[in-house]
């Protein structure tokens, strides 16, 4: 019966008429192009195969604090892409840092005007006064970076999409995403080093007694007594290290935006216990009281928006890249005027669109004064093509600024 059935099925004209799903599978480029540039007769608006307008992002939702064993956690769904981020804080004793004794002043060389120490004490004093200066910021950043206090890792080996073998070492994509997140955490200076420091205030002993303690324990042997000097006696005994693990549970394109939003939401949710140096046990001990724990005070709200460029010319991917000369440029302009679009910039691409485009743009913006101030570009990355020029980049920054507003609302509600 089978051959007969197959033969009977043949009269259905297959070569030119396919159900949409087969068309999408066989001719992905033509499928997307047919959506973006519908025939003028059909009166259809240009729309992406997923039903979105070119600059439209997918429906985004965020949910925080649902994972029990984390200091902060978030689940962000960007359409069908789902990222789960858990922040886990552990303790790094400064005595375990090989370079610590080098980077901090030795008792012999230190004086109240010692360069490094002045900065440290300044930073505490100034933070409490809610004023920041460049010098202090620089110090912040270097400690976070020098001692690897932020450790983001993204995993795609979760069965999130076919093609990623679970159990295999992180794929090139996973490595690249982890690294991009690390770089962005450093460059945006999102987390303040001060939030991660665990201080020790030695009991107010006389200088002689202090001298008898060793130089490894206390640093200010020559400090005179008094209120001000108590401040100077303070010493960093440990740092909180934030392990930021992102599991992409479902991958349907644009993993970076989802992962970054999850990191941001999880850090906003992160609470660190009050911690102090316990002299008797020679270790850092934390209080389990929620009332004593504090949230991180993050710098701003950098939000990332990713775009890709879809070219009408299917072969553009493998043809030699030729910068258009004046004549071609004119031709392009003409066709634009006639309404014939040759390329589309698609916001928040899904997996299908990502597979069909070469050029990617990632814009990370923040707005000063909690949204009332100017839009600041924190990162702008573009690769894989030459189609987007400065003019178009400006438009993309505007779209990203709009996206900032939307995502801010989502993050604040969760």
């Amino acid at each position: 019966m089978a051959p007969a059935a197959a033969a009977a099925a043949q009269p259905a004209p297959p070569s030119l008429s396919l159900p949409p799903s087969q068309f999408a599978r066989l001719q992905p480029h033509a499928y997307l192009l047919a959506h973006l540039s519908p025939p003028p007769s059909s009166n259809q608006p240009s729309i992406r195969a997923n039903g979105r307008a070119p600059s439209q992002f997918r429906v985004t939702s965020a949910n925080t604090g649902s994972l029990t064993h984390t200091n902060g956690s978030a689940v962000v769904r960007l359409g069908d892409t789902t990222a789960v981020c858990g922040v886990r804080a552990e303790i790094l004793h400064t005595e375990d840092i090989a370079s610590w004794s080098v980077s901090r002043p030795t008792p012999a060389s230190s004086s109240p005007t010692g360069n490094k120490r002045r900065k440290l004490t300044d930073s505490t004093a100034k933070l409490s006064a809610e004023s920041e200066n460049k010098e202090e910021d620089g110090d912040d950043e270097s400690q976070i970076q020098d001692f690897s206090l932020l450790v983001p890792n993204l995993s795609l080996s979760t069965g999130c999409a076919p093609g990623f073998i679970p159990g295999a070492p992180p794929s090139a994509l996973a490595q690249s995403l982890s690294h991009q997140i690390l770089t962005l955490l450093h460059s945006t200076r999102l987390v303040r080093a001060e939030d991660l420091r665990i201080w020790y205030q030695p009991p107010n002993l006389g200088p002689e007694e202090l001298e008898r303690h060793n130089e490894n324990e206390q640093m200010d042997v020559d400090a005179p007594q008094g209120e001000v000097d108590l401040e100077k006696n303070k010493e960093i005994k440990a740092f909180w290290v934030l392990y930021i693990d992102i599991m992409i549970i479902s991958l349907a394109g644009n993993p970076f935006d989802a992962a970054w939003a999850a990191v941001l939401a999880a850090l906003r949710d992160t609470k660190l216990a009050r911690a102090w140096w316990d002299v008797d046990n020679e270790m850092v001990v934390c209080s389990d009281a929620v009332s004593e724990a504090r949230k991180l005070s993050l710098r701003g709200l950098p939000i990332s928006s990713t775009f890709c460029v879809f070219e009408a010319d299917a072969a553009s991917g493998w043809r030699a890249v030729v910068i258009p000369d004046a004549e071609e440029e004119k031709e392009l302009d003409d066709s634009t005027r006639k309404g014939i679009q040759r390329r589309w910039v698609l916001a928040d691409p899904d997996g299908y669109e990502e597979g069909l485009s070469q050029e990617r743009i990632c814009v990370v913006v923040d707005k000063e004064q909690d949204g009332k101030g100017k839009t600041v570009i924190m990162k702008l990355e573009k690769n894989g093509g030459w189609a987007v020029d400065t003019k178009e980049l400006k438009t993309l920054v505007d779209i990203s600024a709009q996206r900032w507003e939307d995502l801010k609302q989502i993050l604040e509600q969760c």
């Binding site: 297959p14 070569s15 087969q22 349907a252 899904d350 597979g355």
Partner: protein
Amino acid sequence: MASTLPALAIPGQRLGPVASYSAGPGTHVQQSNVYASIAGPVVVDPAQPGSKAKATLSVSRSIRAPGTGNVVKPVTTSAGAKPAATSAPPKPKLKYNTLPTVDSVVLARVTRVQKRQATVSILVVLDDPASTQGVNPSQTASDNDNIEAILSSAANPENHSSSDELRFQALIRKEDVRAVEKDRVVMDEMFRVGDIVRGTVISLGDQSFYYLTTARNDLGVVMARSEAGNMMFPVSWKEMRDSATGQAELRKVARPF
């Protein structure tokens, strides 16, 4: 009797005694009863009147209920593709789980052309002969993938060449390309890498390859790009032409309709 059958079944659900039904796809028999082995709508295929055969019970893997949407809506590739794709907002979920079997018609992309054979990677299994009995042939172009799933997954986000490892591979041997003049087949003049070919499965083959044939008028290349990169249209059983430059190229062309 049929009235006692559930509309939807889940695996392990008892459907009926073997005394009155025979077990079709999606079911299994255990202790003289037909049980569902997948979740889905229960389909009863009544026995031929007069014959002694029993009605066949099966659990459907694809949707054939009228009005549910996107199964049968042939669209021309050039213009009208989009209305059908966008007009039905909540699409029912369909899973791509139909393995190729002997006599399945498949659409495959040519990945390698050698002297004695061409390697293809199967993109779409057009129909599953076991489940098409008694159904209007025009409805058997079973839509074995849903747009939502296709759109969400990149070809492969990592690297495009390895996506073929996620698809079933098949070989078209030189002697299976066409029915006539078999010994004069030159593989290079039949297929090129990237062509979309319609073929039928002749054997499950070995551990890594299925075997396909295109030795029928309606089988062969259905879509191809010219060397210049433009779509070609068929002009004869062995030739296609570039739609832009008019350049002709040789192929084993499937009969267009």
